[in-house]
Amino acid sequence: MSAFANILAGGVFHAAVLFLVAAGLQLVFGVQKIVNLACGSFYALGAYFGVTFLTYAHQAGVSDWLILPELIVAGILLGFIGPPLERMLRTVYDRDESFQLLLTFAMVLMFQDVFKFVWGANPRSLDSAYLVYGTIRAGDFSIPVYNLLVILAAIGVAAGLGAFLQRTNYGRILRATAENRGMAEALGVDVRRIYATVFTLGAVLGTTAGALVVPTAAASLDMAVEFVVEAFAVVVIGGLGSMRGALAGALIVGLIRALSIVFFPEVEVLAIYMIVIGVLLLRPAGLFGKAAA
């Protein structure tokens, strides 16, 4: 029973990280209609940089208690890649979707070698310093407090993003631009600024998610390309462009992975693809998305 609970907890942690990346994807798709194949690369970038950042911080004598905020800072710092990449994408906004996909694919290729160049071909990981936060135990069930904190952080981000989009003026402008770019422009919205901001925000969400994951998993070259498929699964199941969809999709994918490890180990990854295919065929809009093409 508690083994089950442990696995579920792992699934929720995974879902929290997935949600962050998916939220970034949804924002970018919702506002700019771009499907970012390089989201996995942002994730990996955050992970690698997180390792480096923490290692230096540790050497500089910074207390291990600050690991969580440090990782968040690491993720946010990487936001600087947002504007130049968006600038590159800007050249293909008005062209066929295929070109956007291809350009983000080009980014994936380039990022792979950037990782190799800066961090080498071997996976990088941290020691178990994150356990400084301790572990919560209840009988056989245990969950590192760190994981709980990340889950809480993800919930916080979800709530924050939701409030931001629904309640603030800027959020309304974002939603208006997503709904109808031409109209927004006609009403005086600086769409270019919005696109740059949104893309950067999406990048930061991705890099922060990657940074937050490194205490529990190694940063590796495979990360970037493997993660894309899962992130897409989340977005498809939840519905393209929907924040609620990102949350729901992340939970579903995270839990399914966790459950299938327990009950159907052979089916693990297959299960997710089958659900993606099923959703795309039966309800292409996903759980919360709008009508599909």
């Binding site: 994936v108 290729l109 160049f117």
Partner: protein, 322 residues
């Protein structure tokens, strides 16, 4: 007899390709075998992308069907005939492409791309999960086969690949090219291009949009399988990584590099990519970065690819002559 530019290009290209084994060192000739494999696969891919307007991010799965089909035919079933293997691979890919295509072609754009990516990865995970049959990570061996019933036993593998098999592949490419040429210039080809440009209007002009797309999907799968057999045979191995989504991305890269709006574009793209990759790999360990930059450059500045540049060049040349 005046030849069209296309015929001139085709004949010229064939002559050059035929002469290569006589002038190039065996290493380079060996490089050309994957070119033939990819070129044939890309001719099929571009039927779907350039002529029908559907961008598949899962096309590598059909190359996988070809390679694994070859492994099954030679390894498991013990057949030695290359022709028989080709037939089996083509049949298998058509059988798989029918239901997959039927489900996928109801959508276009991003959804089509995502669906095909998902199916491709599904196939990839099948290859891993059924590792007892497929060898999982290590892949499945593809044994040496006879072409046209001849074993060429006197030749070792390298000689075989640089000699008889090279010309065999050239012939396959020519046949594939001829078939594809007739396809795209047929009434069916016209309907494909019409539905690519404006699916709704095409319907009103009596074009069976879904059926045409499905047909294009199945044909492209069959071409992909042929390419996969060649690739698998060359390496002697059917490898699951051949099917990963980044491989599908690489196919798209090749098509765009060569120019997907031109009939010969994909073939040019296959050649350029293979040569480029080979040269880059010997120059730097970070060849992927350069390739990515090349792709970005093409997408942003030269969306019509190399063939587009060539056509533009020729047009300007023609314009300066009074």
């Amino acid at each position: 007899m005046k030849l069209s530019p296309a015929a001139t290009a085709a004949i010229g290209g064939t002559v050059i390709l035929a002469a290569l084994p006589l002038v190039l060192p065996p290493y380079y000739v060996g490089l050309m075998i994957p070119f033939y494999g990819y070129a044939i696969a890309l001719l099929g891919f571009n039927l779907l992308f350039g002529y029908t307007g559907l961008l598949s991010f899962g096309h590598a799965m059909f190359l996988g069907v070809g390679a694994y089909g070859a492994a099954v035919m030679t390894g498991v079933l013990g057949f030695k005939s290359f022709e028989l293997t080709l037939l089996a691979a083509v049949a298998a890919s058509a059988l798989i492409a029918l239901p997959v295509g039927f489900l996928c072609v109801r959508y276009t754009g991003i959804f089509f791309g995502m669906l095909t990516l998902a199916f491709g990865m599904l196939f990839h995970s099948f290859l891993f999960k059924f590792y007892s049959v497929t060898g999982g990570d290590s892949g499945m061996r593809v044994a040496r086969m006879n072409i046209l019933g001849l074993g060429f036993d006197k030749y070792n593998k390298i000689e075989f690949l640089a000699g008889p098999f090279y010309y065999y592949c050239l012939a396959l490419l020519l046949i594939a090219g001829l078939i594809m040429w007739r396809l795209v210039h047929s009434p069916f080809g016209l309907h494909l291009r019409a539905l690519r440009d404006n699916a709704r209007k095409a319907e009103y002009l009596g074009v069976h949009v879904h059926r045409c797309r499905l047909a294009a999907f199945v044909v492209s799968a069959m071409f992909g399988a042929v390419g996969g057999v060649i690739l698998g045979f060359r390496v002697g191995l059917a490898d699951p990584e051949l099917v990963y989504w980044t491989q599908s991305g690489q196919l798209v890269f090749m098509a765009v590099l060569g120019g997907f709006t031109n009939f010969f574009g994909p073939v040019i793209g296959a050649l350029s990519y293979i040569l480029l990759q080979d040269q880059l790999q010997s120059l730097t360990e970070y060849w992927r970065f350069v390739l990515g930059a090349v792709l970005a450059l093409i997408v942003i500045v030269f969306p019509e690819g190399i063939s587009g540049i060539a056509v533009e060049f020729r047009r300007r040349l023609g314009g300066t002559r009074a």
